[in-house]
């Protein structure tokens, strides 16, 4: 009996072991199954993702094609309407399709070629018409960005143009100033030559040559001012120059007008118009120097005595009364003798002032030289008066 119980116990244990092994095997199978199932679920997710992406791509492509077709139709319709309005024809949008890629035909019909901006605008309109609002919004955003970029580029270009215009204006200003200085220098030289000829009692031929040169220099100066006024007027109309620069130009125009007007009066008073021959005897007093230095300031104020006859060196000190003599007024018509005397008077006055300046400076050598010159001028004057 004991053995029976033992055997029963052993058999029971064996069965329990077998049951445990079966359960473990079942668990193992279950886990393996789950692993396989999980792997297949992942594959399913991957396939779904792939198909979605592909369909999205196809959808986008189809949308793009639809929008392009609608855009072309809108543009064709617009072209057809333009042609029909101009010619009274009845062209349809389909007929206008043939003109799309034919620049000569478009030109012949007077159609404008589309730009990138008009294309984008048309695409946005077509997308809205087809109900693709997101695509339309994106296209309008792109259009806006391009507008902003173009505006910025244009602003930069305009800034460059303004700088260039200003640079050129400054160069012209410099050129005008240089020419003005040349004219004034020529005028002054002509005047000096005239006075020298008179002081040296040159013959009539030399005096006439000096007169002619003075006349021509005055005419050149006047015409120079007129040319300057024209150039300045062009500069004033330049939209790229700054307002403050235009104010400067206006001031220069006014100064130049005053100078030219003074010279014109001088020439008219001397009976001389432009380059024509004099109609009355030459009188140096009729040729005042209008502006002794570059720049247009103060010319009108010197018109009454524009050649600075009798005026001292502007930096001179006190004028010696011994050399002051009454000057003939420009309106009085002098004889050649009187003109020569007047010229010598003016020269002597100038020398006197220079003497005063040299004395104030303490330059004894210069004073002596000027005194010698004064005596020569005085002797020449006496000879002129005795003629």
């Amino acid at each position: 009996m004991g053995l029976g119980l033992l055997f029963a116990g052993i058999s029971g244990a064996g069965k329990a072991l077998a049951a445990d092994a079966a359960r473990e095997q079942e668990l193992s199978d279950r886990q393996q199954l789950e692993a396989q199932r999980a792997k297949l679920e992942e594959e399913r997710a991957l396939r779904i993702d792939e198909v979605r992406r592909q369909r999205d791509r196809q959808g986008a492509q189809q949308m793009g094609q639809q929008i392009s077709a609608e855009t072309a139709m809108l543009q064709n319709q617009r072209d057809a309407e333009a042609i029909n309005a101009a010619n009274g024809s009845q062209m349809s949008a389909e007929d206008a399709q043939v003109l799309r890629n034919n620049p000569e035909a478009r030109k012949a019909y007077g159609l404008l070629n589309s730009t990138r901006q008009t294309d984008l605008e048309d695409r946005a309109t077509a997308a809205e018409k087809l109900g693709y609002l997101d695509a339309a919004r994106e296209t309008r955003g792109q259009l806006q960005t391009e507008f902003v970029n173009q505006r910025s580029i244009k602003q930069d270009e305009n800034a460059d143009k303004r700088l260039e215009a200003e640079q050129k204006w400054r160069e012209r200003q410099s050129d005008l100033a240089a020419k003005r200085e040349d004219r004034m220098a020529r005028l002054a030289e002509a005047e000096l030559g005239l006075r020298r000829a008179q002081a040296a009692k040159a013959d009539s031929r030399e005096q006439q040559a000096a007169e002619r040169e003075a006349r021509m220099a005055t005419v050149a100066a006047m015409k120079g001012y007129e040319t300057e006024i024209k150039q300045l007027a062009k500069d004033a109309a330049d939209p790229l120059l700054a307002p403050e620069q235009k104010q400067v130009i206006q001031q220069q125009i006014e100064d130049a007008r005053r100078q030219a007007s003074a010279l014109r009066r001088t020439l008219a008073g001397a009976g001389i118009e432009g380059g024509s021959a004099p109609s009355k005897p030459f009188n140096p007093a009729d040729f005042p120097l209008a502006g002794g230095k570059s720049g247009a300031a103060g010319g009108a104020q010197r018109a009454a005595n524009p050649f600075n006859l009798g005026t001292a060196n502007p930096a001179a000190g006190e004028i010696s009364e011994a050399v002051e003599r009454p000057r003939p007024t420009p309106e009085k018509r002098l004889s050649p003798k009187e003109m020569a005397v007047a010229g010598l008077d003016a020269s002597m006055q100038q020398t006197g002032k220079q003497i005063a300046v040299a004395q104030s400076r303490g330059d004894a050598a210069e004073v002596q030289r000027l005194l010698d010159q004064f005596q020569q001028q005085n002797a020449a004057r006496l000879r002129a008066m005795q003629q």
């Binding site: 789950e34 396989q36 297949l40 993702d49």
Partner: protein
């Protein structure tokens, strides 16, 4: 057994008893919006699958699992997934396409498995419904198909009938068996899920 749908909730040592799961436990935490989940997306299909899983008799469990795995392998592996794509793109309504496709799939699995029909067929009818849920979910996520309770019900009925038909069981025979069963149970037969 329902833990097959959620490997995270599988309890070791649960044996053959189906582990109760709730719908919320089937959602993987941290899943991104719009990205395909590793489990079914549609709650109706999840519910249908769970019901089938719970109704599988223990003697058919192993065969059932094998058929489901084999069917999913054919549906979703890179080499053979085009078959399902072609079937879903065929003309006609969704229920017809899916039920035709699942019936063909079951026949493919049967031919490859070389199993005895008597042991294969009962499990295959239930496994076909699970595969049908997988296909409907796939169609919903990739094609935007509308999976309504009516569609699920009709598709389930058509799938089961077509699978039985492939094994030579006609619809009249099915109706006869169903009627006999109801008679036997005194008219209180438990309704099959999805029919």
């Amino acid at each position: 057994m329902a833990g097959l749908l959620n490997s995270q909730s599988m309890q070791p040592g649960a044996g053959a008893q189906p582990a109760p799961t709730s719908q919320g436990q089937l959602q993987q935490p941290g899943a991104q919006a719009g990205a395909p989940d590793k489990q079914l997306d549609d709650p109706l299909l999840i519910q249908t699958e769970q019901a089938i899983e719970q109704s599988v008799p223990p003697e058919h469990r192993q065969m059932f699992d094998s058929i489901v795995l084999a069917g999913m392998n054919v549906m979703f592996s890179k080499e053979t997934s085009s078959l399902m794509e072609q079937q879903l793109d065929e003309g006609g309504d969704l229920a017809s396409n899916v039920s035709d496709g699942v019936a063909k799939l079951i026949m493919i699995v049967f031919n490859e498995s070389k199993q005895d029909i008597n042991s294969f067929m009962p499990a295959s009818v239930l496994a076909a419904v699970v595969l049908m849920c997988q296909a409907l979910d796939y169609a919903e996520q990739t094609r935007g198909a509308q999976v309504t309770p009516e569609v699920v019900a009709m598709c389930t009925k058509q799938t089961q009938l077509k699978v039985l038909k492939t094994f030579g069981v006609s619809e009249e025979q099915v109706n006869q068996v169903a009627a006999a069963g109801m008679q036997q149970m005194g008219g209180a037969a438990q309704p099959q899920p999805g029919v």
